[in-house]
């Protein structure tokens, strides 16, 4: 008898022991007219070998990420994923475990979250970080909701460089929350610091100010000049939320230093695969004063009766399973396994490694931009400082160019900005991680040159090996 057959006969025996004559009798509470008379119209079952073939056939209709140099970013980046992360996160003890509501049999998960919270505090300069959010976008939305709960003011001000995707997620969350979203004036792709005091004064008080660092265009916002500009506006100080790429914090000052009240972001750069945009995991960190308004789970150190140290979920009265309609958020399931990946990533890298990877991204991105903007007709979209990503103006539609480059050269050249900004169809957003080699960058530059149908001489000029001094 097959395994399935045996299980089935065990089920029949159990039915008999329950004391019912049939399964239909067992589910008598389901009105007969609601019971399905025939099987669902779904495809027939597949064995493992058939499933592998199905997934193999489908994946051949995708590009092969392992063989495709990618300059795509925009919120999801192609960083190195150390082998040890895969080995550890695929231990059943971690990935098949439940939420650690029974701490005595979840110390592994809880201790790792405690480490995660510590590392996020260290990177951001905040006092307390929660156990994770779904993604950076929903974390930003929750941060604005926290701001609304601590501050007066029916406006939330968003820096112009906040990702349009994040902005969209925020708008959906804040619909009906009595908070109007306003985009601050832009100067060179960044927040216009000079105009900020006026924007703060003009109109009702703002409960929050959200800045993304680096911003959607890869530019570094002048966070250091924010405190002064906000102070110049007088009036009630908005809750400053910084959405920071955690990898960039390997070299950038923790936002806490520049007065951030809450720091959020997406964990994806920290050892998490792109997965077509999800799940990526988010983090949420804030000042100690707001700990009781924190959304989601929080782990604290604890002791048992024998004085042994352990870890447990804490302040659960903030959460929906205890507080119901008075909870700080509705979040329950979060991104535990992705927070674990980020924790292992940061443990493997240490302080030197996180600095090294950030510096490599910086160097490679700057090398790439120098080469690309040396091509005739190509110029940088912005003059401001950038980290790992930058926008260039190609002088012709970017969408057709990237499709052509992918088709002819197997390179993913970047994200056409026209997808988000109708007036910017000639611009391309290019991300360069530590994985992109000199050859990759050379190949991209040559492909862009060819795509722009430049004469051969101009292509040579655009080759970074020639463009460097």
């Amino acid at each position: 008898m097959s395994d399935q057959g045996q299980a089935r006969s065990a089920d029949e025996a159990m039915l008999a022991e329950i004391g019912v004559g049939s399964f239909d009798e067992l589910i008598a509470q389901v009105p007969p007219r609601l019971r399905l008379a025939k099987p669902l119209a779904l495809p027939a079952p597949l064995a493992e070998s058939e499933l592998r073939r199905l997934y193999g056939d489908l994946s051949r209709k995708n590009y092969d990420p392992a063989r495709t140099p990618s300059f795509l970013g925009g919120g999801v980046y192609d960083h190195v994923i150390p082998a040890a992360i895969e080995a550890l996160t695929w231990r059943s003890e971690f990935y098949t475990a439940y939420t650690p509501y029974q701490p005595e049999v979840a110390q592994g998960t809880l201790a790792a979250i405690f480490e995660f919270q510590t590392m996020i505090c260290e990177l951001t300069g905040m006092d307390v970080a929660n156990a994770s959010m779904y993604d950076g976008a929903s974390a930003a939305a929750e941060a604005l909701l926290l701001a609304r709960s601590v501050n007066h003011g029916g406006r939330a001000l968003l820096a112009p460089g906040v990702s349009p995707r994040v902005r969209g997620v925020i708008a959906t969350h804040l619909e009906g929350a009595g908070v109007a979203l306003e985009i601050l004036p832009e100067e060179g792709g960044r927040i216009d610091i000079a105009a900020l005091p006026h924007a703060l004064r003009a109109g009702p008080p703002a409960c929050a100010l959200l800045v993304q660092q680096p911003n959607f265009f890869g530019l570094l916002e002048p966070l250091d000049r924010l405190p002064e500009a906000v102070a110049a506006a007088a009036g009630e100080r908005p809750h400053l939320v910084v959405s920071a790429d955690p990898l960039s914090l390997g070299i950038l000052a923790p936002p806490g230093r520049w007065g951030a009240d809450t720091v959020v972001g997406d964990l994806q750069p920290l050892g998490i695969p792109a997965q077509f945009g999800g799940p990526t995991g988010g983090y949420f960190a804030t000042r100690a004063a707001h700990v009781r308004r924190l959304p989601g789970r929080l782990v604290a150190e604890a002791r048992d009766a024998a004085g042994r140290r352990g870890f447990t979920l804490t302040l659960q009265t903030r959460e929906q399973h205890i507080r119901r309609e008075k909870a700080t958020s509705n979040i329950c399931t979060n991104s535990g396994l992705l927070a674990l990946r980020a924790t292992i990533y940061l443990a493997l890298l240490g302080p030197g490694g996180i600095r090294e990877v950030a510096r490599q991204c910086y160097a490679r991105a700057h090398h790439a931009r120098a080469g690309l903007t040396a091509l005739p007709g190509v110029r940088a979209s912005h003059a401001g400082p950038f980290f790992r990503e930058f926008a260039i103006d190609l002088g012709q539609p970017a969408e057709a160019l990237v499709a052509g480059i992918h088709a002819r050269h197997g390179i993913l050249a970047g994200i056409p900005l026209g997808r988000f900004y109708p007036g910017r169809t000639n611009e391309l957003l290019v991300a360069v991680t530590e994985k992109r080699t000199r050859e990759d960058i050379q190949a991209l530059t040559a492909a862009v040159a060819e795509g722009l149908a430049l004469p051969r001489g101009a292509r040579e000029k655009g080759n970074p090996s020639h463009a460097e001094p």
Partner: protein, 513 residues
């Protein structure tokens, strides 16, 4: 030889033996300054020191306090931590409403490989036809399973599905010019329901359950008024009972142009047996990490796609996959859509596993899942009800709720019983929920358990019931053989040590620059 039909749980090991292993360590405590970390490829482009170009104020002055450990130390540390976890592959996880079923390995294998895991969502559509096709097919299969017209893959979890459901209600009522404020929620509902309603901008109104543990139609009638935006129903409800009157409930809500949302946390009881869409439900979320076997990951990630009737479909979030001729593309703009919920199209990594699960089972296999889940729950209920009476004496669906109220007379609480189960090698059931059952133990065994494991679990509960009468102090002090004993949560909340600090360093609350 122990008889597998009448298993006698081994007496718990001595607690003292466990404590020899010392405290649970954190990675920072293994740190050795100067230990080389992960090695990246050499920089093969010219150095570009950020110090040269960036304003000094933007740069970090002090390195973050991260551990300095070798790869082997990392492996040892997290392997050691992992051994402290209960998990599905260790033993039964009887968590009511959480559906802790086995996560088949093939699903993991398929989703983890670089061919799928490393796909970027902004690649040209011509280069991602395979993933778009898979998402499109998955949407259709889910719609078939719940009997709905359209599905959004956006929600990252059940609670986000609930939020989407409420936002869809708002969009519907706004477009129709309805002045709607309240959403009705039975008192047996999951805590996420009222929290999601508040987050969406509606006001929750609780309705009392009837004596049979189901929605009381009279209570429903007195709660419905012209301002009723809709109702959130969990079906089967958290007592494991099917809401027999669901069609009538839906009809009464629809009579005031309200809408019916179904919390699909308990869908494992219904797949292939009944369609939420046929019950009058207008929107339902589907927890892929419950019903469709994707792993819980120690708290996430999950995915909570939402199925809707045609009337709500125009408001679904964007982007979404649409079919055009032989190809697929992402629809980015539609004026009636409520906008974006997920930054991309949803938790695709989770979806890849759930799609494999659905395809591996097929229609008969999925029906067999729910059938077995219901049989197992009823079988287990019969085994344990002698020791822990069941809240409602009738057949259950995929889960049931027992009460440990009688143990109070012996100075023992339901949480003590739950903790004692840990000593027997099982996870605890969901305790003290639903709120309408005193000292609840909410138990869901799932279809992937064998009869033997159900028997062993029941035997453990019987043994604990005996202990409550004979040696209550053992149960009160449980667990005794886990790495740490019961933790003082009140003290932890008072001290609130939520990050590691080096010995001798100033405590938390000291932001570093």
């Amino acid at each position: 030889m122990p008889n597998p039909d009448r298993p006698t749980p081994a007496p718990p090991a001595e607690a003292a033996a466990c404590s020899l292993q010392g405290a649970v360590e954190v990675i920072f405590e293994r740190s050795v300054p100067g230990e080389p970390g992960y090695r990246f490829a050499r920089l093969d482009v010219p150095e570009a020191p950020p110090e040269g170009e960036l304003p000094a104020a933007l740069l970090r002055e002090q390195p973050p306090l991260l551990p300095e450990v070798s790869e082997l130390e990392v492996m040892r540390h997290y392997t050691a931590l992992s051994s402290l976890n209960h998990h599905v592959e260790k033993s039964l996880y009887p968590l009511g409403s959480c559906t802790m079923k086995y996560n088949p390995k093939i699903n993991e294998e398929l989703a983890r490989g670089p061919a799928w895991a490393l796909l970027h969502p902004d690649a040209p559509e011509s280069s991602i036809q395979g993933i778009l096709e898979l998402l499109w097919r998955f949407e259709r299969d889910l719609a078939t399973i719940v009997g709905m017209d359209a599905v959004s893959l956006h929600p990252a979890a059940g609670a986000q599905g609930e939020l989407l459901g409420m936002k869809l209600f708002r969009a519907y009522h706004r477009e129709k010019g309805n002045a709607k404020r309240t959403v009705l929620i039975p008192d047996s509902a999951h805590g996420t329901n009222p929290a999601s309603v508040v987050l969406s901008g509606f006001t929750p109104r609780e309705i009392r359950s009837g004596k049979d543990g189901r929605i009381d139609l009279a209570a429903l009638d007195s709660a419905i008024d012209a301002g009723t935006a809709g109702i959130m129903v969990t079906n089967p409800n958290t007592l494991g009972l099917f809401e027999k009157d669901i069609e009538e409930i839906a009809a009464r809500i629809h009579a005031v142009d309200g809408l019916v949302y179904m919390d699909g946390a308990n869908l494992n009881a219904l797949v292939g047996l009944a369609l939420p869409g046929a019950m009058g439900v207008d929107a339902v979320h589907i927890n892929l990490h419950k019903t469709f076997s994707t792993p819980h990951g120690g708290g996430g990630p999950g995915a909570g796609p939402v199925g809707v009737k045609a009337a709500l479909a125009p408001y679904l979030p964007l982007p979404r996959v649409v079919r055009e001729g032989e190809g697929y593309r992402l629809l980015q703009h539609d004026s009636r859509s409520l906008g974006r919920l997920h930054p991309y199209v949803g938790n695709v990594g989770v979806i890849l596993r759930a799609y494999a699960y659905i395809r591996s089972l097929g229609p008969e296999g999925l029906r067999a899942v729910s059938r077995a889940a219901v049989i197992h729950a009823n079988y287990l209920m019969r085994q344990v009800e002698g020791a822990f009476p069941v809240a409602k004496r009738e057949a259950c669906m995929h889960e049931f709720v027992s009460s440990a109220a009688w143990t109070r007379a012996h100075g023992v609480r339901n949480i003590d019983v739950a903790k004692r189960l840990l000593d027997y090698g099982f996870h605890a059931p969901t305790v003290s929920f639903p709120l309408i059952v005193p000292d609840a133990l909410m138990i869901e065994p799932t279809e992937t358990e064998t009869r033997r494991s159900l028997d062993r679990f029941a035997a453990a509960l019987m043994a604990i019931a005996r202990e409550v009468r004979e040696t209550p102090e053992v149960v009160q002090g449980a667990p005794g053989c886990t790495r740490v004993g019961r933790l003082d949560e009140a003290e932890a909340a008072r001290r609130l040590q939520v990050r590691w600090t080096p010995p001798g360093a100033p405590g938390a609350g000291d932001p570093r620059g």
